[in-house]
Protein backbone atom coordinates (compact mmCIF):
# COMPACT_ATOMS: atom_id res chain seq x y z
CA UNK A 1 0.00 0.00 0.00
CA UNK A 2 1.25 3.48 -0.67
CA UNK A 3 0.17 6.94 0.32
CA UNK A 4 0.60 10.00 -1.82
CA UNK A 5 3.11 12.08 -0.02
CA UNK A 6 1.75 15.58 -0.29
CA UNK A 7 3.76 17.07 2.52
CA UNK A 8 7.15 15.89 1.31
CA UNK A 9 7.99 19.11 -0.48
CA UNK A 10 7.01 21.28 2.41
CA UNK A 11 10.06 22.13 4.46
CA UNK A 12 8.17 23.95 7.20
CA UNK A 13 7.38 22.07 10.38
CA UNK A 14 3.63 21.60 10.99
CA UNK A 15 3.68 23.91 13.94
CA UNK A 16 5.27 26.65 11.88
CA UNK A 17 2.78 26.09 9.10
CA UNK A 18 -0.11 26.38 11.51
CA UNK A 19 1.33 29.56 12.96
CA UNK A 20 1.75 30.99 9.51
CA UNK A 21 -1.87 30.25 8.70
CA UNK A 22 -3.00 31.94 11.92
CA UNK A 23 -0.87 34.96 11.18
CA UNK A 24 -2.24 35.24 7.67
CA UNK A 25 -5.78 35.10 8.99
CA UNK A 26 -5.00 37.74 11.58
CA UNK A 27 -3.35 40.10 9.11
CA UNK A 28 -6.45 39.97 6.96
CA UNK A 29 -8.45 41.63 9.72
CA UNK A 30 -7.68 45.36 9.77
CA UNK A 31 -9.66 46.03 12.95
CA UNK A 32 -7.80 43.33 14.81
CA UNK A 33 -4.50 44.76 13.61
CA UNK A 34 -5.46 48.24 14.76
CA UNK A 35 -6.51 46.76 18.10
CA UNK A 36 -3.20 44.98 18.43
CA UNK A 37 -1.28 48.14 17.51
CA UNK A 38 -3.09 50.41 19.95
CA UNK A 39 -3.03 47.84 22.77
CA UNK A 40 0.71 47.39 22.24
CA UNK A 41 1.20 51.16 22.27
CA UNK A 42 -0.62 51.47 25.60
CA UNK A 43 1.41 48.62 27.02
CA UNK A 44 4.65 50.28 25.93
CA UNK A 45 3.58 53.60 27.40
CA UNK A 46 2.79 51.86 30.69
CA UNK A 47 6.28 50.37 30.84
CA UNK A 48 8.10 53.43 29.55
CA UNK A 49 6.11 56.16 31.32
CA UNK A 50 9.11 57.36 33.36
CA UNK A 51 11.14 57.75 30.16
CA UNK A 52 8.63 59.10 27.68
CA UNK A 53 6.53 61.37 29.91
CA UNK A 54 7.75 64.97 29.57
CA UNK A 55 7.14 65.80 33.24
CA UNK A 56 6.78 64.01 36.53
CA UNK A 57 3.09 63.37 37.14
CA UNK A 58 3.14 65.21 40.43
CA UNK A 59 5.32 68.14 39.36
CA UNK A 60 3.29 71.32 39.87
CA UNK A 61 3.76 74.55 37.97
CA UNK A 62 1.80 77.34 39.62
CA UNK A 63 2.61 79.70 36.77
CA UNK A 64 0.55 77.49 34.48
CA UNK A 65 -2.55 76.44 36.38
CA UNK A 66 -5.31 75.16 34.11
CA UNK A 67 -3.15 76.24 31.18
CA UNK A 68 -4.34 75.85 27.62
CA UNK A 69 -2.45 73.35 25.47
CA UNK A 70 0.88 74.82 24.40
CA UNK A 71 4.30 73.69 23.25
CA UNK A 72 5.35 73.15 26.87
CA UNK A 73 2.21 71.30 27.83
CA UNK A 74 0.72 69.62 24.72
CA UNK A 75 -2.52 68.75 26.49
CA UNK A 76 -2.49 71.63 28.97
CA UNK A 77 -2.28 71.45 32.73
CA UNK A 78 -4.68 70.75 35.56
CA UNK A 79 -5.78 72.80 38.53
CA UNK A 80 -2.41 72.31 40.26
CA UNK A 81 -0.40 73.00 37.12
CA UNK A 82 0.46 69.34 36.51
CA UNK A 83 1.06 68.27 32.92
CA UNK A 84 -1.98 66.35 31.69
CA UNK A 85 -0.10 64.38 29.03
CA UNK A 86 2.34 63.09 31.63
CA UNK A 87 -0.44 62.21 34.01
CA UNK A 88 -2.34 60.31 31.32
CA UNK A 89 0.86 58.39 30.51
CA UNK A 90 1.53 57.56 34.15
CA UNK A 91 -2.13 56.68 34.59
CA UNK A 92 -1.69 53.98 31.96
CA UNK A 93 0.44 52.10 34.47
CA UNK A 94 -2.32 51.84 37.06
CA UNK A 95 -4.85 50.90 34.43
CA UNK A 96 -2.76 48.23 32.75
CA UNK A 97 -1.63 46.83 36.06
CA UNK A 98 -5.19 46.55 37.27
CA UNK A 99 -6.41 45.24 33.92
CA UNK A 100 -3.82 42.54 33.45
CA UNK A 101 -3.35 41.44 37.05
CA UNK A 102 -7.07 41.34 37.74
CA UNK A 103 -7.54 39.15 34.67
CA UNK A 104 -4.73 36.83 35.73
CA UNK A 105 -6.24 36.61 39.20
CA UNK A 106 -9.68 35.90 37.76
CA UNK A 107 -8.21 33.09 35.62
CA UNK A 108 -6.33 31.59 38.54
CA UNK A 109 -9.54 31.53 40.57
CA UNK A 110 -11.95 30.54 37.83
CA UNK A 111 -10.21 27.90 35.74
CA UNK A 112 -9.62 25.31 38.52
CA UNK A 113 -13.14 25.81 39.87
CA UNK A 114 -14.66 25.52 36.40
CA UNK A 115 -12.60 22.40 35.71
CA UNK A 116 -13.68 20.72 38.93
CA UNK A 117 -17.34 21.55 38.34
CA UNK A 118 -17.32 20.49 34.69
CA UNK A 119 -15.15 17.43 35.06
CA UNK A 120 -16.36 15.81 38.25
CA UNK A 121 -19.96 17.04 38.12
CA UNK A 122 -21.70 15.10 40.89
CA UNK A 123 -22.82 17.23 43.83
CA UNK A 124 -20.05 19.79 43.45
CA UNK A 125 -21.24 21.02 40.05
CA UNK A 126 -24.68 22.28 41.05
CA UNK A 127 -23.19 23.91 44.16
CA UNK A 128 -20.59 25.81 42.15
CA UNK A 129 -23.06 26.65 39.39
CA UNK A 130 -25.66 28.06 41.80
CA UNK A 131 -23.12 30.16 43.66
CA UNK A 132 -21.80 31.48 40.35
CA UNK A 133 -25.31 32.26 39.17
CA UNK A 134 -25.99 34.22 42.33
CA UNK A 135 -22.78 36.21 41.88
CA UNK A 136 -23.55 36.78 38.21
CA UNK A 137 -26.88 38.30 39.21
CA UNK A 138 -24.88 41.30 40.47
CA UNK A 139 -23.46 43.53 37.75
CA UNK A 140 -19.67 43.23 37.52
CA UNK A 141 -19.02 46.78 38.72
CA UNK A 142 -21.41 46.60 41.66
CA UNK A 143 -19.64 43.46 42.84
CA UNK A 144 -16.23 45.10 42.36
CA UNK A 145 -17.29 48.27 44.18
CA UNK A 146 -18.68 46.24 47.07
CA UNK A 147 -15.52 44.14 47.38
CA UNK A 148 -13.25 47.17 47.07
CA UNK A 149 -15.20 48.94 49.77
CA UNK A 150 -14.70 45.98 52.08
CA UNK A 151 -11.00 45.62 51.29
CA UNK A 152 -10.20 49.32 51.59
CA UNK A 153 -8.88 51.74 49.01
CA UNK A 154 -5.61 50.97 47.25
CA UNK A 155 -4.54 49.86 43.79
CA UNK A 156 -3.77 46.34 45.03
CA UNK A 157 -7.15 45.96 46.70
CA UNK A 158 -8.92 47.37 43.66
CA UNK A 159 -7.12 44.79 41.52
CA UNK A 160 -8.13 41.96 43.87
CA UNK A 161 -11.73 43.20 43.90
CA UNK A 162 -11.84 43.34 40.10
CA UNK A 163 -10.27 39.92 39.74
CA UNK A 164 -12.71 38.30 42.14
CA UNK A 165 -15.64 40.09 40.52
CA UNK A 166 -14.61 38.88 37.06
CA UNK A 167 -14.19 35.27 38.21
CA UNK A 168 -17.86 34.09 38.09
CA UNK A 169 -18.18 34.76 34.36
CA UNK A 170 -14.94 32.92 33.69
CA UNK A 171 -15.98 30.00 35.91
CA UNK A 172 -19.04 29.61 33.72
CA UNK A 173 -16.94 29.64 30.55
CA UNK A 174 -14.37 27.18 31.93
CA UNK A 175 -17.08 24.83 33.18
CA UNK A 176 -18.94 24.89 29.88
CA UNK A 177 -15.79 24.16 27.91
CA UNK A 178 -14.87 21.34 30.28
CA UNK A 179 -18.32 19.78 29.95
CA UNK A 180 -18.04 19.83 26.18
CA UNK A 181 -14.44 18.65 26.01
CA UNK A 182 -14.85 15.71 28.38
CA UNK A 183 -17.32 14.19 25.94
CA UNK A 184 -14.78 14.29 23.12
CA UNK A 185 -13.78 10.95 21.65
CA UNK A 186 -10.13 11.56 22.39
CA UNK A 187 -10.93 11.93 26.08
CA UNK A 188 -12.73 8.58 26.02
CA UNK A 189 -9.82 7.11 24.11
CA UNK A 190 -7.42 8.44 26.74
CA UNK A 191 -9.50 6.90 29.53
CA UNK A 192 -9.46 3.60 27.66
CA UNK A 193 -5.69 3.91 27.51
CA UNK A 194 -5.45 4.16 31.28
CA UNK A 195 -5.13 7.90 31.74
CA UNK A 196 -6.13 9.20 35.18
CA UNK A 197 -8.06 12.38 35.94
CA UNK A 198 -5.00 14.61 36.31
CA UNK A 199 -3.62 13.50 32.96
CA UNK A 200 -6.93 13.99 31.20
CA UNK A 201 -7.45 17.45 32.63
CA UNK A 202 -3.87 18.55 32.11
CA UNK A 203 -3.19 17.03 28.72
CA UNK A 204 -6.54 16.94 27.03
CA UNK A 205 -8.92 19.46 28.49
CA UNK A 206 -6.83 22.49 29.45
CA UNK A 207 -4.80 22.67 26.20
CA UNK A 208 -7.97 22.49 24.16
CA UNK A 209 -9.71 25.28 26.01
CA UNK A 210 -6.69 27.57 25.98
CA UNK A 211 -7.82 29.50 22.93
CA UNK A 212 -11.25 30.15 24.42
CA UNK A 213 -9.64 31.35 27.63
CA UNK A 214 -7.27 33.61 25.70
CA UNK A 215 -10.20 35.29 24.00
CA UNK A 216 -11.99 35.63 27.33
CA UNK A 217 -8.87 37.23 28.77
CA UNK A 218 -8.75 39.89 26.09
CA UNK A 219 -12.36 40.72 26.89
CA UNK A 220 -11.80 40.74 30.65
CA UNK A 221 -8.80 43.09 30.47
CA UNK A 222 -10.76 46.10 29.13
CA UNK A 223 -13.59 45.42 31.58
CA UNK A 224 -11.04 45.49 34.40
CA UNK A 225 -9.45 48.67 33.02
CA UNK A 226 -12.80 50.41 33.04
CA UNK A 227 -13.44 48.91 36.47
CA UNK A 228 -10.19 50.35 37.80
CA UNK A 229 -11.16 53.77 36.48
CA UNK A 230 -14.56 53.49 38.16
CA UNK A 231 -13.11 52.40 41.49
CA UNK A 232 -10.49 55.15 41.40
CA UNK A 233 -13.15 57.68 40.42
CA UNK A 234 -15.16 56.66 43.44
CA UNK A 235 -12.08 56.86 45.65
CA UNK A 236 -11.91 53.10 46.14
CA UNK A 237 -8.88 52.52 43.98
CA UNK A 238 -5.72 54.50 43.36
CA UNK A 239 -5.35 57.32 45.87
CA UNK A 240 -4.35 60.86 44.81
CA UNK A 241 -1.83 62.17 44.07
CA UNK A 242 -0.87 58.95 42.29
CA UNK A 243 -2.15 59.42 38.76
CA UNK A 244 -4.82 57.16 37.36
CA UNK A 245 -7.44 57.82 34.72
CA UNK A 246 -10.20 57.39 37.24
CA UNK A 247 -8.58 59.78 39.70
CA UNK A 248 -8.10 62.33 36.94
CA UNK A 249 -11.75 62.10 35.95
CA UNK A 250 -12.79 62.49 39.53
CA UNK A 251 -10.62 65.59 39.99
CA UNK A 252 -11.84 67.03 36.71
CA UNK A 253 -15.45 67.13 37.89
CA UNK A 254 -15.10 70.50 39.64
CA UNK A 255 -13.59 72.11 36.57
CA UNK A 256 -15.85 70.60 33.96
CA UNK A 257 -17.20 73.96 32.78
CA UNK A 258 -13.87 75.82 32.73
CA UNK A 259 -11.55 73.09 31.48
CA UNK A 260 -13.45 70.15 30.00
CA UNK A 261 -10.17 68.78 28.56
CA UNK A 262 -9.27 67.66 32.11
CA UNK A 263 -11.95 65.04 31.73
CA UNK A 264 -11.76 64.51 27.98
CA UNK A 265 -8.17 63.25 27.74
CA UNK A 266 -8.29 60.55 30.44
CA UNK A 267 -11.72 59.65 29.11
CA UNK A 268 -10.34 59.16 25.63
CA UNK A 269 -7.49 57.11 27.04
CA UNK A 270 -9.96 54.75 28.76
CA UNK A 271 -12.04 54.60 25.61
CA UNK A 272 -9.21 53.76 23.23
CA UNK A 273 -7.45 51.41 25.60
CA UNK A 274 -10.51 49.26 26.24
CA UNK A 275 -11.61 49.46 22.59
CA UNK A 276 -8.21 48.24 21.41
CA UNK A 277 -8.31 45.19 23.68
CA UNK A 278 -11.86 44.42 22.60
CA UNK A 279 -10.91 44.60 18.92
CA UNK A 280 -7.92 42.40 19.56
CA UNK A 281 -10.12 39.88 21.37
CA UNK A 282 -12.66 39.82 18.53
CA UNK A 283 -9.87 39.24 16.04
CA UNK A 284 -8.34 36.45 18.08
CA UNK A 285 -11.69 34.79 18.47
CA UNK A 286 -12.20 34.76 14.71
CA UNK A 287 -8.69 33.54 14.00
CA UNK A 288 -8.69 30.77 16.58
CA UNK A 289 -12.12 29.50 15.65
CA UNK A 290 -11.48 26.42 13.51
CA UNK A 291 -14.63 27.11 11.52
CA UNK A 292 -13.07 30.30 10.18
CA UNK A 293 -12.07 29.79 6.58
CA UNK A 294 -10.76 33.22 5.63
Amino acid sequence: MSYVDTAAADVLSPRARRRRLMRRRFVRRPLALIGLGVATAFTLIAFLAPVVAPYSPSETDFNAVLAQPSADHPLGTDELGRDILSRVMWGTRASMQAGVLATVLAMVIAVPIGLVAGYYRGWIDPVITRVTDVLLAFPFLILAVGLAAILGPSLLNATIALGVAAAPGLIRVARGETLALREEDYVNAAIANGAGDARIIGRHIVPNMASTLLVQATVTIPAAIIGEAVLSFLGLGVQPPTPSWGVMLSDAQSYLSQAPRLAIYPGLAIFFCSLSFNLLGDGLRDVLDPRTTR
Partner: protein, 323 residues
Protein backbone atom coordinates in the same frame (compact mmCIF):
# COMPACT_ATOMS: atom_id res chain seq x y z
CA UNK B 1 -7.07 -23.61 24.01
CA UNK B 2 -5.84 -21.56 26.96
CA UNK B 3 -8.46 -19.00 27.97
CA UNK B 4 -7.09 -15.49 28.13
CA UNK B 5 -10.36 -13.87 28.97
CA UNK B 6 -13.29 -15.76 30.43
CA UNK B 7 -16.53 -13.83 30.62
CA UNK B 8 -19.53 -15.43 32.19
CA UNK B 9 -23.06 -14.28 32.89
CA UNK B 10 -22.31 -10.70 31.97
CA UNK B 11 -25.39 -8.50 32.26
CA UNK B 12 -25.50 -4.76 31.77
CA UNK B 13 -28.46 -2.55 32.35
CA UNK B 14 -28.85 1.20 32.36
CA UNK B 15 -31.07 2.78 34.96
CA UNK B 16 -32.18 5.98 33.30
CA UNK B 17 -34.94 8.46 34.03
CA UNK B 18 -36.97 6.90 31.24
CA UNK B 19 -36.78 3.45 32.78
CA UNK B 20 -34.36 0.57 32.69
CA UNK B 21 -32.63 -0.52 29.51
CA UNK B 22 -31.26 -4.05 29.42
CA UNK B 23 -28.31 -3.83 27.07
CA UNK B 24 -26.66 -7.18 27.71
CA UNK B 25 -28.34 -10.25 29.18
CA UNK B 26 -26.30 -13.11 30.70
CA UNK B 27 -23.63 -13.22 28.04
CA UNK B 28 -20.75 -15.67 28.35
CA UNK B 29 -17.79 -16.12 26.07
CA UNK B 30 -14.13 -17.08 26.11
CA UNK B 31 -11.19 -15.56 24.29
CA UNK B 32 -8.14 -17.75 23.72
CA UNK B 33 -4.50 -16.76 23.33
CA UNK B 34 -3.75 -15.33 19.88
CA UNK B 35 -7.37 -15.75 18.91
CA UNK B 36 -9.38 -13.33 16.79
CA UNK B 37 -12.96 -13.30 18.00
CA UNK B 38 -15.53 -11.53 15.86
CA UNK B 39 -18.64 -10.16 17.54
CA UNK B 40 -21.40 -9.51 15.06
CA UNK B 41 -24.85 -8.00 15.29
CA UNK B 42 -27.00 -5.08 14.27
CA UNK B 43 -26.69 -1.65 15.83
CA UNK B 44 -27.91 -1.62 19.41
CA UNK B 45 -27.52 -5.34 20.06
CA UNK B 46 -25.03 -4.75 22.89
CA UNK B 47 -21.71 -5.42 21.17
CA UNK B 48 -19.96 -2.23 22.19
CA UNK B 49 -21.57 -2.10 25.62
CA UNK B 50 -20.23 -5.58 26.33
CA UNK B 51 -16.67 -4.54 25.57
CA UNK B 52 -16.85 -1.19 27.34
CA UNK B 53 -18.28 -2.88 30.43
CA UNK B 54 -15.21 -5.12 30.70
CA UNK B 55 -13.00 -2.18 31.58
CA UNK B 56 -15.67 -0.11 33.35
CA UNK B 57 -15.74 2.46 30.59
CA UNK B 58 -19.51 2.82 30.69
CA UNK B 59 -21.22 5.88 32.18
CA UNK B 60 -22.13 5.62 35.87
CA UNK B 61 -25.78 4.84 35.06
CA UNK B 62 -24.70 1.37 33.93
CA UNK B 63 -25.21 -1.55 36.28
CA UNK B 64 -22.90 -4.44 35.43
CA UNK B 65 -23.04 -7.94 36.87
CA UNK B 66 -21.30 -11.23 36.17
CA UNK B 67 -17.61 -12.08 36.06
CA UNK B 68 -14.81 -11.50 33.57
CA UNK B 69 -11.65 -13.34 34.48
CA UNK B 70 -8.51 -11.97 32.92
CA UNK B 71 -5.67 -14.03 34.34
CA UNK B 72 -6.22 -13.97 38.08
CA UNK B 73 -8.23 -10.77 38.08
CA UNK B 74 -11.97 -10.42 37.81
CA UNK B 75 -12.22 -7.26 35.75
CA UNK B 76 -15.76 -6.56 36.85
CA UNK B 77 -14.79 -6.58 40.53
CA UNK B 78 -11.42 -4.85 40.20
CA UNK B 79 -10.88 -1.44 41.83
CA UNK B 80 -10.56 1.61 39.53
CA UNK B 81 -6.83 1.95 40.15
CA UNK B 82 -6.20 -1.63 39.04
CA UNK B 83 -8.33 -1.09 35.97
CA UNK B 84 -6.36 2.02 35.03
CA UNK B 85 -3.22 -0.09 35.01
CA UNK B 86 -4.86 -2.68 32.77
CA UNK B 87 -6.42 -0.20 30.36
CA UNK B 88 -4.07 0.54 27.52
CA UNK B 89 -1.43 -1.81 28.85
CA UNK B 90 -2.93 -5.29 29.07
CA UNK B 91 -6.16 -4.64 27.22
CA UNK B 92 -6.45 -1.76 24.80
CA UNK B 93 -9.14 -0.28 22.63
CA UNK B 94 -9.38 1.00 19.09
CA UNK B 95 -12.52 3.02 18.53
CA UNK B 96 -14.71 3.58 15.55
CA UNK B 97 -14.05 7.26 14.97
CA UNK B 98 -10.46 7.89 13.95
CA UNK B 99 -11.32 11.47 12.98
CA UNK B 100 -12.15 12.57 16.51
CA UNK B 101 -10.25 10.11 18.68
CA UNK B 102 -6.99 12.05 18.60
CA UNK B 103 -6.36 15.21 20.58
CA UNK B 104 -6.04 18.10 18.10
CA UNK B 105 -3.68 20.01 20.37
CA UNK B 106 -0.71 17.62 20.24
CA UNK B 107 1.38 15.89 17.60
CA UNK B 108 0.63 12.23 17.03
CA UNK B 109 4.09 11.32 18.28
CA UNK B 110 3.37 12.99 21.62
CA UNK B 111 0.09 11.13 21.92
CA UNK B 112 1.60 7.75 21.19
CA UNK B 113 4.46 8.57 23.55
CA UNK B 114 1.99 9.61 26.24
CA UNK B 115 0.76 6.03 26.62
CA UNK B 116 4.34 4.75 26.86
CA UNK B 117 5.26 7.29 29.49
CA UNK B 118 2.11 6.56 31.44
CA UNK B 119 2.46 2.78 31.54
CA UNK B 120 6.11 2.00 30.98
CA UNK B 121 7.58 5.12 32.58
CA UNK B 122 9.74 5.89 29.55
CA UNK B 123 11.58 9.20 29.35
CA UNK B 124 10.47 11.81 26.87
CA UNK B 125 13.26 10.90 24.44
CA UNK B 126 12.76 7.15 24.70
CA UNK B 127 9.01 7.57 24.26
CA UNK B 128 9.40 9.63 21.11
CA UNK B 129 11.93 7.16 19.69
CA UNK B 130 9.59 4.27 20.42
CA UNK B 131 6.68 6.23 18.88
CA UNK B 132 8.55 6.30 15.57
CA UNK B 133 9.01 2.52 15.75
CA UNK B 134 5.35 2.04 16.51
CA UNK B 135 4.22 4.17 13.59
CA UNK B 136 6.55 2.13 11.44
CA UNK B 137 5.00 -1.05 12.86
CA UNK B 138 1.54 0.07 11.75
CA UNK B 139 2.96 0.78 8.29
CA UNK B 140 2.83 4.54 8.29
CA UNK B 141 5.33 5.78 5.71
CA UNK B 142 8.00 8.24 6.77
CA UNK B 143 7.28 7.79 10.50
CA UNK B 144 10.11 10.12 11.57
CA UNK B 145 8.24 12.98 9.96
CA UNK B 146 4.72 11.84 10.78
CA UNK B 147 5.37 11.82 14.52
CA UNK B 148 5.79 15.58 14.35
CA UNK B 149 2.47 16.13 12.59
CA UNK B 150 -0.87 17.04 14.09
CA UNK B 151 -3.96 14.85 13.70
CA UNK B 152 -5.61 17.28 11.28
CA UNK B 153 -2.78 16.67 8.83
CA UNK B 154 -3.47 12.94 8.59
CA UNK B 155 -6.14 11.12 6.63
CA UNK B 156 -8.74 8.93 8.31
CA UNK B 157 -6.89 5.71 7.52
CA UNK B 158 -3.64 7.17 8.84
CA UNK B 159 -5.32 8.30 12.03
CA UNK B 160 -6.77 4.84 12.56
CA UNK B 161 -3.25 3.46 12.15
CA UNK B 162 -2.07 5.94 14.77
CA UNK B 163 -4.87 4.77 17.08
CA UNK B 164 -3.76 1.19 16.55
CA UNK B 165 -0.16 2.19 17.24
CA UNK B 166 -1.30 3.76 20.51
CA UNK B 167 -3.26 0.66 21.39
CA UNK B 168 -0.25 -1.55 20.68
CA UNK B 169 2.24 0.71 22.41
CA UNK B 170 2.54 -1.38 25.56
CA UNK B 171 2.25 -4.72 23.80
CA UNK B 172 -1.19 -5.59 25.22
CA UNK B 173 -2.48 -9.12 25.50
CA UNK B 174 -5.88 -8.18 24.11
CA UNK B 175 -6.77 -5.60 21.48
CA UNK B 176 -10.45 -4.71 21.37
CA UNK B 177 -11.37 -3.06 18.09
CA UNK B 178 -14.83 -1.53 18.02
CA UNK B 179 -15.85 -1.16 14.38
CA UNK B 180 -12.33 -0.08 13.44
CA UNK B 181 -13.04 0.08 9.74
CA UNK B 182 -16.61 1.37 9.65
CA UNK B 183 -15.68 5.03 9.26
CA UNK B 184 -13.14 4.31 6.53
CA UNK B 185 -13.61 3.71 2.86
CA UNK B 186 -13.27 0.24 1.44
CA UNK B 187 -9.69 0.21 0.18
CA UNK B 188 -8.45 1.67 3.44
CA UNK B 189 -10.51 -0.93 5.34
CA UNK B 190 -8.64 -3.75 3.67
CA UNK B 191 -5.33 -2.18 4.66
CA UNK B 192 -6.40 -1.88 8.29
CA UNK B 193 -7.58 -5.48 8.36
CA UNK B 194 -4.29 -6.65 6.84
CA UNK B 195 -2.53 -4.72 9.55
CA UNK B 196 -4.57 -6.36 12.31
CA UNK B 197 -3.91 -9.80 10.90
CA UNK B 198 -0.22 -9.01 10.76
CA UNK B 199 -0.24 -7.80 14.35
CA UNK B 200 -1.72 -11.07 15.48
CA UNK B 201 0.92 -13.00 13.56
CA UNK B 202 3.86 -10.91 14.71
CA UNK B 203 2.93 -9.93 18.24
CA UNK B 204 0.54 -12.72 19.14
CA UNK B 205 -2.07 -10.24 20.36
CA UNK B 206 -5.54 -11.66 20.81
CA UNK B 207 -8.12 -9.49 19.08
CA UNK B 208 -11.81 -8.95 19.73
CA UNK B 209 -13.30 -7.38 16.66
CA UNK B 210 -16.71 -5.80 16.94
CA UNK B 211 -18.42 -5.27 13.63
CA UNK B 212 -21.71 -5.45 11.79
CA UNK B 213 -19.89 -6.38 8.61
CA UNK B 214 -19.75 -10.13 7.99
CA UNK B 215 -17.18 -9.57 5.27
CA UNK B 216 -14.75 -8.23 7.84
CA UNK B 217 -15.42 -11.23 10.07
CA UNK B 218 -14.92 -13.72 7.24
CA UNK B 219 -11.68 -11.98 6.43
CA UNK B 220 -9.96 -12.05 9.78
CA UNK B 221 -11.82 -13.81 12.61
CA UNK B 222 -11.16 -17.33 13.92
CA UNK B 223 -14.42 -17.59 15.77
CA UNK B 224 -17.64 -15.61 15.59
CA UNK B 225 -20.19 -14.69 18.19
CA UNK B 226 -23.52 -13.46 16.86
CA UNK B 227 -25.44 -11.24 19.24
CA UNK B 228 -29.06 -10.27 19.12
CA UNK B 229 -30.83 -7.97 21.58
CA UNK B 230 -28.14 -8.35 24.23
CA UNK B 231 -28.03 -12.13 24.05
CA UNK B 232 -25.82 -14.61 22.31
CA UNK B 233 -27.65 -16.05 19.33
CA UNK B 234 -24.96 -18.23 17.85
CA UNK B 235 -21.30 -18.97 18.28
CA UNK B 236 -19.06 -21.00 15.98
CA UNK B 237 -15.69 -21.09 14.24
CA UNK B 238 -15.81 -18.78 11.25
CA UNK B 239 -15.83 -21.42 8.48
CA UNK B 240 -18.44 -23.46 10.29
CA UNK B 241 -20.66 -20.42 10.73
CA UNK B 242 -20.49 -19.42 7.10
CA UNK B 243 -20.98 -22.97 5.86
CA UNK B 244 -23.60 -24.14 8.33
CA UNK B 245 -25.43 -21.18 9.85
CA UNK B 246 -28.03 -22.45 12.31
CA UNK B 247 -29.82 -19.46 13.77
CA UNK B 248 -32.36 -17.82 11.49
CA UNK B 249 -30.91 -14.45 12.50
CA UNK B 250 -27.44 -15.45 11.35
CA UNK B 251 -28.95 -16.70 8.14
CA UNK B 252 -30.72 -13.38 7.77
CA UNK B 253 -27.43 -11.53 8.21
CA UNK B 254 -25.78 -13.78 5.64
CA UNK B 255 -28.67 -13.23 3.25
CA UNK B 256 -28.19 -9.48 3.60
CA UNK B 257 -24.56 -9.84 2.62
CA UNK B 258 -23.65 -9.38 -1.04
CA UNK B 259 -22.29 -12.51 -2.73
CA UNK B 260 -21.46 -13.50 -6.26
CA UNK B 261 -24.34 -15.06 -8.15
CA UNK B 262 -27.01 -13.61 -5.88
CA UNK B 263 -28.84 -10.70 -7.46
CA UNK B 264 -31.07 -9.55 -4.71
CA UNK B 265 -30.11 -9.06 -1.08
CA UNK B 266 -32.54 -10.40 1.49
CA UNK B 267 -33.33 -8.10 4.34
CA UNK B 268 -34.49 -9.17 7.77
CA UNK B 269 -38.02 -7.86 8.26
CA UNK B 270 -38.75 -5.60 11.22
CA UNK B 271 -36.37 -3.79 13.54
CA UNK B 272 -34.29 -4.60 16.61
CA UNK B 273 -36.61 -4.64 19.64
CA UNK B 274 -36.38 -1.87 22.19
CA UNK B 275 -34.35 -3.14 25.11
CA UNK B 276 -36.37 -1.36 27.76
CA UNK B 277 -38.36 -4.54 28.29
CA UNK B 278 -36.45 -7.80 28.17
CA UNK B 279 -38.78 -10.22 26.44
CA UNK B 280 -39.39 -13.45 28.32
CA UNK B 281 -39.30 -15.31 25.06
CA UNK B 282 -36.97 -15.60 22.09
CA UNK B 283 -36.11 -11.97 21.31
CA UNK B 284 -35.95 -12.69 17.59
CA UNK B 285 -39.38 -14.33 17.44
CA UNK B 286 -41.27 -11.23 16.12
CA UNK B 287 -38.99 -11.15 13.07
CA UNK B 288 -38.45 -14.86 12.63
CA UNK B 289 -40.05 -16.95 9.88
CA UNK B 290 -39.72 -20.08 12.06
CA UNK B 291 -41.24 -18.65 15.19
CA UNK B 292 -43.99 -20.67 16.82
CA UNK B 293 -45.78 -20.85 20.15
CA UNK B 294 -42.69 -22.17 21.89
CA UNK B 295 -40.53 -19.29 20.59
CA UNK B 296 -43.08 -16.82 21.82
CA UNK B 297 -43.36 -18.21 25.31
CA UNK B 298 -39.87 -19.30 26.38
CA UNK B 299 -36.30 -18.13 26.15
CA UNK B 300 -34.24 -20.62 24.12
CA UNK B 301 -31.17 -21.94 25.91
CA UNK B 302 -27.83 -22.31 24.17
CA UNK B 303 -27.46 -25.75 22.68
CA UNK B 304 -24.56 -27.42 21.01
CA UNK B 305 -25.65 -28.45 17.54
CA UNK B 306 -22.27 -29.41 16.09
CA UNK B 307 -18.76 -29.54 17.58
CA UNK B 308 -17.88 -26.03 18.86
CA UNK B 309 -21.11 -24.72 17.40
CA UNK B 310 -23.64 -23.26 19.82
CA UNK B 311 -26.98 -21.77 19.02
CA UNK B 312 -29.87 -20.34 21.01
CA UNK B 313 -32.86 -21.32 18.94
CA UNK B 314 -35.72 -23.80 19.20
CA UNK B 315 -35.62 -24.47 15.49
CA UNK B 316 -32.02 -24.32 14.39
CA UNK B 317 -30.66 -25.61 11.13
CA UNK B 318 -30.19 -24.60 7.57
CA UNK B 319 -33.28 -23.85 5.48
CA UNK B 320 -35.51 -24.83 8.32
CA UNK B 321 -34.32 -28.44 8.18
CA UNK B 322 -32.89 -30.15 11.24
CA UNK B 323 -29.13 -30.21 11.25
Amino acid sequence: MEALLDVSDLSVRFDTDDGTVHAVDRLSFVLGEREVLGIVGESGCGKSVTMLSLLSLLPPTAVVSGTAHFGKIDLLAAPPSALREIRGREISFVFQEPMTSLNPAFTVGKQVGEVLRRHLGLSRDDASRRAVELLDLVRIPAPERRVREYPHQLSGGMRQRVMIAMALACDPKILIADEPTTALDVTIQAGILDLMREIRERLGTAIILITHNLGVVADIADRVLVMYAGRKAEEAPVDELFRHPQHPYTMGLLGAFPRRGVDRLQEIPGVVPSLSELPQHCAFAPRCPRADELSRSEIPELRRVRPDHWVACFHPGMNGASP
